[in-house]
């Protein structure tokens, strides 16, 4: 039996909970579940309402623009690029960006190698740099196929990688997040970092498309 002691809902009896079985609208059901969990955890003092709000604000403030700034800085500052490839976590820290509990590993696209990232086990993603992952990143289609037929998956994003180029797929985990450093598009050599940051899309940093000038 439940340890419910709120007093408003006597729970010392077995009864059906109409509306809480998954036969109702599923979004509504889980929306209620999330709200119920939040209320209970706050009442029990596990977290405070302020903790939840602060984390929500941080989440809402995350955007691929930050990742784009990192890439643009690497393109325009060779010393930063070196540090970024050696220790991604520390390098983005210089820019005031955090990786949370995880390490950042930045992988560089070259003339010979194209990199892409996936999380086959779950949905690990450099979310502090890019925001929440898109649905396709979390889909079975992407998670299962990226590691066995990456070129076919890339083609579904409209990206054709020549046969003589290596495709390297990086499988993320809870402690290690990858970010792709794409090649700087030709003709942008004299662009300022601010303008370069704007052409680096989220998908380019996941490695499923290439940035275009």
């Amino acid at each position: 039996m439940s340890t419910d002691d709120r007093g408003t809902h006597d729970h010392d009896h077995d009864h059906e909970h109409p509306g809480t079985t998954p036969d109702v609208n599923e979004t509504g059901y889980y929306e209620l579940m999330a709200e119920a969990m939040k209320e209970l955890l706050i009442e029990k003092g596990v977290v405070s309402a302020d903790d939840v709000r602060r984390n929500l604000e941080f989440l809402d403030s995350r955007d691929p623009v930050d990742g784009g700034r990192v890439i643009a800085k690497a393109w325009t500052d060779p010393d930063f690029k070196k540090r970024l490839l050696e220790d991604g976590t520390a390098a983005v820290g210089e820019m005031g960006l955090t990786m949370g509990d995880a390490e950042l590993v930045v992988v560089e696209n070259t003339d010979d190698v194209h990199n892409m990232i996936v999380c086959t086990l779950c949905s690990c993603y450099p979310r502090t740099l890019l925001g929440l992952p898109p649905d396709w990143y979390k889909s079975k289609s992407y998670r299962s196929r990226a590691v066995v037929e990456p070129r076919a998956v890339l083609r579904e994003f409209g990206t054709e990688v020549p046969d003589d180029m290596t495709v390297r797929v990086h499988d993320s985990n809870a402690d290690m997040r990858y970010l792709v450093l794409p090649k700087q598009p030709e003709g942008t050599e004299d662009w300022p970092a601010e303008k370069l940051a704007e052409i680096v899309s989220r998908d380019a940093m996941v490695g499923v498309v290439l940035p275009e000038a």
Binding site: H9, M33, E35, M37, V52, R54, F58, W136, V148
Partner: protein
């Protein structure tokens, strides 16, 4: 090969559908709730992943944040922080308050 449900590398699957669907407010809220618990070391990310991996297949196949919710309830119950019954009756109470 004994490959569990979450370990998806190499499984057969359909083409990738590149939708640009924004996370719903409740999904962001539950993500923030999980992040707040991580700050106090009450619930770690690897524990949540284990709880996700242990879900029955029919739940694991549900929408991403739906399975997160189910896994969180299981994990929090396991930790003695709340019970599924409490969550269920609170859901009823909220629903009644909303008048739906």
């Amino acid at each position: 090969m004994n490959q569990r449900q979450h370990d998806m590398g190499g499984m057969d699957a359909s083409p990738v559908e590149a939708s640009a669907h924004e996370a719903e407010p409740w999904a962001k809220m539950i993500t923030s709730l999980a992040a707040a618990m991580r700050e106090y070391d009450v619930m770690r990310i690897d524990e949540l992943r284990r709880a996700l991996e242990d879900l029955p297949p029919e739940i694991y196949e549900q929408d991403y944040f739906e399975r997160w919710s189910e896994a969180m309830v299981n994990l929090l119950e396991e930790k003695g922080l709340l019970t599924r019954d409490e969550v269920m009756s609170r859901m009823d109470a909220i629903k009644a308050k909303l008048g739906s």
